[in-house]
Amino acid sequence: MKKSHEQELVEEIRLEELEGKENPQVFKGMIKWISRNLKFLFVPGAKIEDLTVRETEYEKSISKRKFIRRLKSTLTIIGIGIIFFIVTLVVFPEWISPYTREELTDFLTGSYSAPSPEHPLGQTEVGRDVLGRLIYGARDSITIALPAILFALFFGIILGVIAAYYGGWVDSVIMRIMDILLAFPGLILVLVFIAIWGRRMEYFILAYGILGIAGYSRLIRGSVLQARELPYVDAARVAGAGNWRIMFRHILPNTIQPIIISFTFDIGGIILSLAGLSFLGFGDSRLIEWGNDISTARAMLYSAPWAAFWPGIMIIITVLGFMLLGDGLRDAFDPRLRNL
């Protein structure tokens, strides 16, 4: 009987698993994996033959499309909209604000003037436009928050998976180190870093990244500890997979869900923390930061409240967007909230 294309693929996969063939080009394999899974997740009618045969056990395609539908609740859409808005401000500030960055960090006239047609939200202490600083401030906040989180994600996930998978003394040592890091309140550790090495943007990224590593490794350790006992790990090992392959190709994709949710909440958290840092005066003075604006405008709070009011509103909107998205993702992932 002529073999169908599907049957050929199945045989090919069985042969591959039996031989324990490793993909020698790790980077290319990674890109391929990411693009295949993204395409499968987000394109509702995607038929990737290789994938549908290989991953039949856990991808009821209906459930993934339902995920996208569950994501469509009103508040989550508002959150995604806010994030798009902020990203636009990050990428295209020159097209939105009539002022350039030099004008916004320069010393001009018109101290604390009231809202007027050229300055829709008024001016700050040295004559800078409040609205323009709101717009450019988005870029500096995200420039610090995003690399810090990605740094923390990368190292945190690797450390957490290794710690939970191997267990024993590896687990104990790594987790003790993370506990020690977490014993310091976040802002205090960052302040101490600043005290030692100075107030530069790169050190903020490093400090928040290191704190984030501790958080993420603990988070993923919990999930991996549970996933380690499941039968598919044994199945993969019987098929000849080595430790690293099991860790990062089998266990990791199943345990990444709380990380995604935490990721969105943490971006908001870092932006808030950064605002606090620049409010206290420890921010990098080359940056345009909302917290810094609030702090300088405090001096004239009672007579020019607009200068201190609007940066705060901007912080709230930004963090709110990420929080809404995080809430939406959490509700969409949760299998127990059946009726959404």
Partner: protein, 338 residues
């Protein structure tokens, strides 16, 4: 396994963490710029004076010996002398002068936000997707996104300037005296020594800072309680209790709430470091003269002793709170005392 064994196990786990914290504090403080010997000498000094001072402070010894001396100093209360705040005073005295105020702020915030937060969370979960729930969720969402200091500034503007009913800063009216020193806590001392006007004044000054700090803690407690209550209310034993004819009030408060409290306690514990951070920001906004302000002043002045003492104290408090949370777990959930 009994409560005591559980407690001892948790403490034993904490000891290496504590040791790590002390080690990191020591090495970080040694890395700070600024030579501590200079700050003890005056304007003009000779090389012999420098050497003598350095030997006295123990800075000539190898780093390991310095480390052990440091540990000894920490636990005997010899935290050094401050160089910037009240020139030359003992750090220990300074910390204990200001620490009770920060403690008051933090404890009031946690208590108030804990009670109101849990109640609101339960309310939210019970009336899910109805107007009460939507309003509560909205307020909670804004609460976790709002920066503490901005809320402080807003409240200062509205309640201090536009409608002048509350004081805008400090923890006491300027010319009021301090009560006699019995415990160091202003609230307790003024009550014991009978100077009630000091108590009332202190409480009035506490209203705004506690509102700011408490609102944010309240928001995150509400969110966490709501989501864990939702989970619990779908469990089978709740359905059983209702089927057996239990009043709704009893179902929620006696059966469901205790189970829902466990993740909430975790969140309160995790939030505690956020509380310390928030206390720093709140104290700066309201000029409250607590530990937070002292920390900032010491960083600005590169005050090596104060900074390391405060970082150590903060980490110690955090570890103690974690221990307390673990203890609470053991009390609330008997299954955890394996």
């Amino acid at each position: 396994m009994s409560m005591l064994t559980y407690l001892i196990r948790r403490i034993l786990i904490m000891i290496p963490v504590l040791f790590g914290v002390i080690a990191i504090t020591f090495f970080l403080s040694r890395m700070m710029p600024g030579d501590p010997v200079y700050s003890h000498l005056g304007q003009h000094w000779t090389q012999e004076q420098y050497d003598a001072k350095a030997a006295e402070l123990g800075l000539n010894l190898p780093i390991i010996e310095q480390f052990f001396r440091y540990i000894g100093d920490l636990f005997t209360g010899n935290w050094g002398t401050s160089i910037s705040i009240n020139e030359g005073s003992e750090v220990w005295d300074l910390v204990w002068q200001r620490f009770p105020r920060t403690l008051d702020l933090t404890i009031f915030s946690v208590l108030i936000s804990g009670f109101i937060g849990v109640k609101t969370g339960v309310l939210s979960a019970r009336h899910r997707n109805r107007p009460k729930d939507t309003v509560a969720r909205g307020i909670a969402l804004v609460g976790v996104s709002i920066p503490v200091f901005w809320m402080g500034i807003l409240l200062q503007y509205l309640l201090t300037y536009q409608i002048p009913i509350l004081p805008s800063s400090h923890f006491k009216t300027a010319w009021y005296p301090d009560p006699e020193f019995i415990t160091g806590f202003r609230l307790i001392d003024s009550l014991i020594s009978g100077q009630i006007y000091l108590t009332i004044d202190y409480l009035i000054h506490l209203i705004l800072p506690v509102t700011c700090l408490g609102f944010i803690t309240l928001a995150s407690i509400t969110r966490q309680t709501r989501s864990s209550m939702l989970e619990v209310l779908e469990q089978d034993y709740v359905r059983t209790a209702r089927a057996k004819g239990c009043k709704e009030k009893d179902v929620v408060h006696t059966h469901a709430l205790k189970n829902a409290l466990i993740p909430t306690i975790t969140v309160i514990g995790l939030n505690f470091s956020g509380l310390l951070t928030g206390a720093i920001l709140t104290e700066t906004t309201f000029n409250f003269h607590g530990i937070g302000e002292m920390l900032l002043a010491s960083i600005v002045a590169s005050d090596y002793y104060v900074l390391s003492a405060l970082v150590f104290a903060a980490a110690l408090i955090f570890i103690a709170i974690n221990l307390l949370i673990d203890l609470l777990y053991g009390i609330v959930d008997p299954r955890i005392r394996y």
